[in-house]
């Protein structure tokens, strides 16, 4: 089962009477890069939270590399070698960039290796100049870049990113694209994203969510030109 990074069967999440994710069957191959798109409230973020352990699905199963992880706490899922970035920036603001990345590296490496890994990530993401600054003082784009560094420091084989391009400038997005390509050479990725420009530049296969269900799963060009998808995005009746 090593060629499958992530699978879900009938994943369902109900909030009272609202069904935010409805029997989602999903499959991601190793080293695949997949974008999840869909209008607001389509269920992509709920799906994301269910597979990362931030929420416990009402029904259904999640498998990572063949191991069932349904209902696991986030720290157990991360310990498998899964890198996770949430929608809002989640970083240690009053610590330095170096300390932030060191903490991420230390979880998976011994002391000496963690120091080396931290240096490597700082160079990879070109953070050398700001490595000793407190993270809270940095600009949004830099903070996003550091958070990507936190994700990469654990050498993950599966990376889950919720809106990595949110609020970034064009230059930052270009840099982010490069980093994601780099990460993709070693890990499978799921990216939840709104920014169509960004998706076009990195994605091959795209999964479209609508009303809690998977509406379509295909190559990015066919998805973008599909009339049903266009209608969903424009809010017309599908």
């Amino acid at each position: 089962m090593d060629d499958v990074a992530l699978e879900t069967y009938g994943l369902t999440m109900r909030f009272g009477g609202v069904i935010a994710a409805n029997r989602v069957d999903f499959r991601l191959r190793a080293l695949e890069l997949r974008c999840l798109i869909g209008p607001n409230g389509a269920g992509k973020s709920t799906f994301f939270r269910c597979i990362t352990g931030l929420q416990r699905p009402t029904e259904g199963e999640v498998y990572m590399r063949g191991i069932e992880t349904t209902g696991w706490m986030p720290h157990r899922i991360a310990s498998l070698g899964v890198g996770i970035k949430t929608q809002t920036p989640n970083v240690m603001d009053s610590l330095s960039v170096h300390e932030n990345i060191w903490l991420a590296a230390r979880r998976f490496h011994d002391l000496r290796e963690a120091d080396r890994k931290t240096q490597e990530i700082i160079e990879l993401l070109a953070l050398g100049e700001i490595a000793r600054d407190d993270l809270g003082r940095l600009a949004h784009g830099e903070r996003q870049r550091v958070e990507l560094g936190l994700v990469a420091a654990g050498d993950p084989w599966l990376i889950l990113l919720d809106e990595p391009a949110a609020g970034l400038s064009a230059g930052d997005i270009e840099r982010m694209t490069g980093t994601i390509r780099e990460l993709n050479s070693r890990a499978a990725l799921i990216i939840v994203e709104h920014d169509m420009q960004f998706i076009r530049s990195i994605a091959e296969t795209v999964t479209v969510f609508h009303q809690g269900k998977v509406l379509m799963e295909d190559h990015v060009d066919r998805v973008m030109s599909d009339p049903v998808v266009r209608n969903v995005y424009l809010g017309k009746k599908a």
Binding site: T52, Q87, P89, L103, A104, R137, A139, L150, E163, A166
Partner: protein, 347 residues
């Protein structure tokens, strides 16, 4: 982290040595001893609150448990060495259980405060109502609100008749505070300590990086309780009696005030805050013009208004500012970085 642990240890030993030599020339050792003990108690909360992000309203519970564990076991055993260890272990075990319950139950900060407060109250009420002769552990009668007097005080390990008291006891307490301070320093330099600070900053991020936040907070909570328990045992030896007032909410509140005034997120701050405020209280206790609680309250209000970060962070900020200005005259010593954080979209 700059500097080395050895250098820190030497600094701490030197400073402790100088203070132990100089301070008795100004203040009597009997008073100094209790200031040192309160310093250790404040350090225990300063560690778990300032570095671990756990605001415990019941640090006095562990202080009192340490004192009672010492008194009861000293009466039953007849000497002090094993009771000193029990006074550290009993509160630590109690805190590990309580902490596991709270942290694995994923309680929010507010409920953590409420529970630690209520546990202190329960201990206070329980011990208070054990006045009758039927309440005894071995040979030790708990004594209710009268407390337990007349237990064997600290002796040289292995020599039950060689009691340590007076000036000698002050030196023991000061050395133990120095030792605890060194251990706290080493802990904060270790990976465990650095991860604990990360958890204080952002629990979600740390768990998404694969750290078991619940287990680590429980361990941190137990370490804080162990230090508070040691302080409690030292206090029992100093006062030569333990009473339920050790568990009082007033005591718990005072520890929190010491930490705020001295400065959270520092090791030295809580120790200084405790010693300073306790000495102020001691001086005020010698007159009848102003009420003690009034002054403590006033000090807290003034600090929250004008020095919200506490003494030590304010002083070190001032020192850094002056130092950098002096070293780099005419240079812009702080690199300006863009401050604005764009807000992220929701969706």
């Amino acid at each position: 982290m700059p500097g080395s642990l050895t250098r820190d240890a030497i600094t701490i030993a030197l400073v402790t040595g100088v203070l132990v030599w100089v301070l008795p020339l100004i203040i009597g050792t009997y008073t100094l001893t209790v200031l040192v003990i309160y310093g250790m108690l404040a350090l225990s909360l300063g560690l778990i609150w300032g570095f671990g992000g756990i605001l415990c309203f019941g640090q006095a519970a562990f202080f009192g448990l340490g004192a009672y564990a010492y008194a009861i076991s000293a009466i039953n055993i007849g000497e002090s060495t094993l009771p000193m260890f029990l006074a550290v272990l009993v509160p630590a075990a109690f805190a590990a259980l309580l902490g596991a319950m709270m942290f694995y139950g994923r309680l929010g900060d507010v409920y953590l405060g409420v529970i630690t407060l209520v546990v202190t109250l329960i201990l206070f009420k329980t011990v208070n109502s054990t006045a009758g002769p039927q309440y005894a552990i071995g040979n030790a009668r708990l004594g209710g609100f009268n407390g337990i007097p007349g237990f064997p005080t600290l002796n040289v390990p292995g020599l039950p008749d060689a009691y340590i008291w007076g000036d000698g006891y002050f030196y023991v307490c000061a050395a133990l505070l120095g030792l605890v301070y060194m251990l706290v320093t080493a802990l904060l330099r270790s990976s465990f300590g650095r991860v604990a600070v990360g958890i204080r900053e952002n629990e979600t991020r740390m768990s998404l990086m694969g750290y078991d936040v619940r287990a680590r907070k429980t361990v941190m909570f137990a370490i804080g309780a162990a230090i508070a328990g040691l302080a409690g045992a030292l206090f029992a030896n100093w006062a030569e009696i333990v009473t339920p007032s050790l568990f009082s909410l007033g005591q718990s509140a005072e520890i929190i005030i010491w930490c705020i005034v001295g400065g959270l997120g520092t090791r030295l701050g809580p120790v200084l805050g405790a010693a300073g405020l306790a000495y102020l209280k001691f001086l005020l206790g010698q007159q009848a013009l102003i009420d003690n609680a009034l002054v403590t309250g006033l000090v807290l209000v003034l600090f929250v208004l004008f020095l919200p970060k506490g003494i030590v962070p304010a002083l070190s900020g001032l020192w850094n500012f002056g130092f950098v200005r002096w070293r780099l005259p005419g240079h812009i010593h702080q690199r300006r970085r863009p401050r604005g954080r764009e807000r992220t979209r929701n969706g």
